[in-house]
């Protein structure tokens, strides 16, 4: 049974993005990527899974339970952690406080458990350790992205939803980030990754789906997707760098 399954999901968000009958699944232990141009519905998909948007039709199943009618607070408690697009770290709280709040869905933590948890995150993201007591808004984009992922991981999720983690980041930072994503995956977290940077996404994922204006158009393994001409033309562009 897949860990996460979307069956024929349709949802609307404002007037720009919409999903039309999207079906996909993620098995335990995988990294699956969701590709597509801006406006294709990738973010909408994640927001529908995490409960920020209620789908207009279709079902979402997680670990054998239906979750499409639940509130975000309940969904995160079930083990889905959504790191949304645009970092969204709390600007007026410190790095440490941001990470601590990531543990909210785990319920009450003892002081020791909290300290250990934060330490673990600094271990995975050493670059932000020196900012531990700095306010979130003073960090750069890349540092904020790492903080956002750390905060999402602090929930010890069964499924991590990453929304365009590379957006606005320089190539070398992106590679560090994706190396970290690979490491998180190796430690046992299942990941559904939404990305515009198709190169990087397909370098970590085993499987992928392609969305075009709300419809699922292509799905397959990484090598299948890399060979697909349509996909390549629209997203890989045939250029290097």
């Amino acid at each position: 049974m897949p860990l996460l399954e979307l069956r024929n999901i349709s949802s609307a968000y404002g007037s720009v993005e919409a999903l039309r009958g999207v079906s996909l699944h993620v098995d335990k232990g995988e990294i699956v990527t969701l590709l597509g141009a801006n406006g294709a519905g990738k973010s909408t998909t994640l927001r529908t899974i995490s409960g920020l948007i209620r789908p207009t039709s279709g079902e979402i199943w997680f670990e054998g339970q239906r979750i499409d009618t639940l509130a975000p607070e309940q969904i995160v408690r079930m083990g889905i952690s959504h790191v949304p697009e645009g970092r969204r770290i709390f600007p007026g709280l410190t790095v440490r406080e941001n990470i601590m709040l990531g543990s909210t869905s785990r319920g009450h933590l003892s002081k020791q458990a909290m300290v250990e948890g934060v330490e673990e995150m600094f271990g995975i993201f050493p670059d932000i350790r020196r900012f531990a007591d700095a306010l979130g808004w003073t960090l750069s984009g890349g540092q904020q992205q790492m903080l956002a992922v750390a905060r999402g991981l602090m929930a010890k999720p069964k499924l991590l939803l990453l929304d365009e983690p590379s957006l606005g980041l320089a190539p070398v930072i992106v590679q560090q980030l994706f190396a970290t994503i690979r490491e998180i995956h190796t430690r046992g977290t299942t990941i559904l990754l939404v990305e515009q940077n198709a190169h990087m996404a397909l370098s970590v994922a085993a499987r992928g789906y392609v969305l075009e204006t709300g419809n699922m158009t292509v799905e397959g393994t990484t090598s299948q997707l890399m060979d697909n001409d349509e996909v390549r033309a629209a997203y890989l562009g045939g250029h290097t760098a």
Binding site: S15, V172, A233
Partner: protein, 598 residues
């Protein structure tokens, strides 16, 4: 599009709505004439007089709130200034009506100016509080400064004015006169959004930062809107005083300001007709709801909440939306459009943009730590670097959104370091934003027109020329056919193009582009590269930030690389992309290597 000689652009007339206009005209003419034909009681005449004078004040709310998006909770005070000017002027000081009237307008205008100038630099909350405070002080003064204002006793015996020697003592005649003035004001408020000022107001309402950056004097625009509102309030008050012959402080209280606000919200803040509709309702409601006795005001308060929850655009907005859903408006036909003209002077030795030891610190964080850059005329200069290297901050400082901690910025030799963003736009600095900042409720054409409204835009002619220029800009970026669509409904890629067109309409000397490729897919990015090359071909100087090396490599003449707020390399793409420091700090491995390691 064709390179045909510039023919006058065929602008479509406003959607033909003849039946509606005729109906409106009939009603408008009939209204003040009815009392001459039928016998109406004084009571009804008073209600009409109330409605007419209040509507003038509510029109002020349409301008300041509906168009410019600023709250004004002191409209009753401005109304009162006009009323007391006439009352004191004619009864106490023995002045002629029209002299008192002008005094009142002057006083209202000055009060509006002073309030506006002090508060409009700040956010909406401040304005709300200050206007309420002003209203309260006005009330205090009216009630307590008995020597001058006659205090709670008020001023009786105010007489209606004479018009060309003809005394308007007949209530019906006075009503007719006031109605005529009202119609004039309605026309003015209806016409305002189509003017430069009106568009500037709407731009400020929709996205103040973008408006400021592309050359709108946002503070001046807001202050003008607020002052117009105050003056309209004063006009209403003056006519009110002469119409009811007795005024006292309780007519000009905070509650009255709330009534004006409720009227404009109930009727529809975006339209003078909504204002009229809302005012009539507000005047009639106390009569209809008389049966509620002492609960009336409590129900009123509840009603305000309900209007906000359920009727955001007011009744007029509701009617208009329903009407448009039934009869879909047809997009006007656009004829041939002249090719976009670029006003680029001959290449000079002087750098178009020069940054001298630019620094920007946020507390302890040195986001920009002393950079020197010169951008030669007619070139594309890219600023790249890892995240946190200071690129976006640099751009924001160049643009004027941030004040630099130290250092100077020269635009074509002029020191712009202390200038506000709109002043820099007025010298030819254009900009697009990473997160697209368009004026969402306006059409693509209107958005681009606002861009062309910057100071010193080298362009002759009035509105026609502005429209033509805007259409040419839209044509240049390839979306002329979308000119009349509201930008909110355009796909992302097209919104990006509208933003670029908006910058082009201003004849920029320098165009700052903040991640122009953000959010575009590969095909769109290729088209963008083509567009940027065409711009360079016309002699425009571009200064851009982007992370997509493919785009940067193809389009740039020169690249400056930042890391940790400092410049670490500079040169042609070939030089820079091979520089060991740059490779180490920034480029890293290509994805092929990364994939191999997976």
């Amino acid at each position: 599009m064709s390179a045909a000689a510039a023919t006058p652009v065929a602008l479509a007339r406003a959607r033909s709505n003849i039946p509606g206009l005729i109906l409106l005209a009939i009603l408008a003419i009939a209204f003040p004439l009815v009392p001459y034909v039928l016998h109406v009681s004084d009571y009804v005449l008073n209600i009409c007089m109330n409605s007419v004078s209040y509507t003038m004040a509510v029109l002020g709310m349409v301008v300041v709130l509906g168009y410019a998006g600023q709250i004004n909770l002191a409209q009753a005070a401005f109304f009162g200034i006009g009323a007391y000017a006439v009352g004191l002027g004619t009864v106490v000081w023995g002045l002629h009506f029209w002299v008192s009237f002008m005094l009142g307008l002057g006083a209202a205008a000055i009060a509006g100016l002073v309030l506006g100038l002090t508060t409009l630099r700040l956010g909406g909350h401040y304005l709300a509080m200050i206007t309420i405070s002003f209203q309260q002080i006005f009330d205090l003064v009216l009630t307590n400064w008995i020597d001058v204002t006659k205090g709670p006793d008020g001023i009786p015996g105010i007489e209606p004015p004479a018009l060309l020697g003809f005394h308007l003592t007949d209530k019906r005649a006075y009503l007719l006169f006031c109605a005529a003035v009202l119609y004039l004001l309605i026309w003015f408020v209806w016409w305002l959004p189509k003017t430069r000022l009106g568009r500037a107001m709407r731009a400020v309402r929709d996205n103040e930062l973008a408006a400021e950056t592309i050359g709108v004097h946002t503070l001046r625009t807001k202050v003008i809107a607020f002052t117009i509102s105050a003056v309209l309030g004063g006009i209403g008050g003056s006519f009110y005083a002469a119409g009811f012959s007795y005024i006292s402080p309780d007519n000009f209280s905070f509650l009255r300001s709330i009534e004006f606000l409720t009227a404009v919200l109930l009727g529809g803040a975006q339209s003078p007709f909504g204002a009229a509709l809302g005012t009539v309702l507000i005047v009639l409601l106390p009569e209809w709801l008389r049966f509620l006795k002492s609960l009336y005001l409590a129900v009123y308060g509840l009603g305000v909440i309900l209007i906000m929850v359920f009727l955001a655009e007011g009744i007029w907005g509701l009617l208009r939306n329903t009407f448009q859903r039934i009869r879909k408006p047809v997009a006007p036909v656009i004829g041939a459009v002249p090719v976009l003209h670029f006003e680029i002077k001959a290449q000079s030795d002087r750098a178009v943009l020069k940054l001298e030891n630019l620094q920007k610190h946020f507390g302890g964080l040195r986001a920009v730590d002393g950079i020197d850059v010169e951008v030669a005329a007619g070139t594309v200069h890219a600023l790249i670097g890892p995240n946190g290297s200071g690129k976006t901050t640099s751009l924001n400082v160049v643009n004027g959104i941030y004040r630099p901690t130290a250092g100077r910025i020269f635009l074509d030799g002029i020191d712009v370091t202390q200038m506000k963003p709109h002043e820099r736009a007025g010298l030819g600095m254009g900009r697009t934003f990473q997160n697209i900042r368009l004026f969402q409720t306006m059409t693509a054409l209107e958005n681009v027109m606002v861009g062309g409204q910057r100071d010193n835009n080298p362009m002759e002619g009035g509105r026609e020329a502005l429209v033509t220029r805007a259409l040419s800009a839209l044509d240049f970026v390839g979306i002329l056919h979308r000119a009349h669509m509201i930008v909110r409904s355009l796909p992302y890629g097209h919104q990006r193009l509208v933003e670029i067109a908006r910058a082009l309409a201003a004849h920029p000397k320098l165009l700052l582009l903040d991640e122009p490729g953000a959010g575009l897919n590969q095909t769109e990015k290729q088209e963008l590269v083509g567009l940027l090359k065409r711009l360079r071909g016309h002699g425009l100087t571009l200064f851009l930030i982007d992370h997509d090396m493919g785009v940067v490599e193809k389009v740039s003449d020169r690249i400056t690389v930042l890391n940790f707020g400092k410049k670490i390399a500079e040169g042609t793409p070939q030089e820079v992309l091979r520089h060991p420091d740059v490779i180490a700090a920034y480029l890293g491995e290509g994805p092929a290597n990364a994939a191999a390691r997976a």
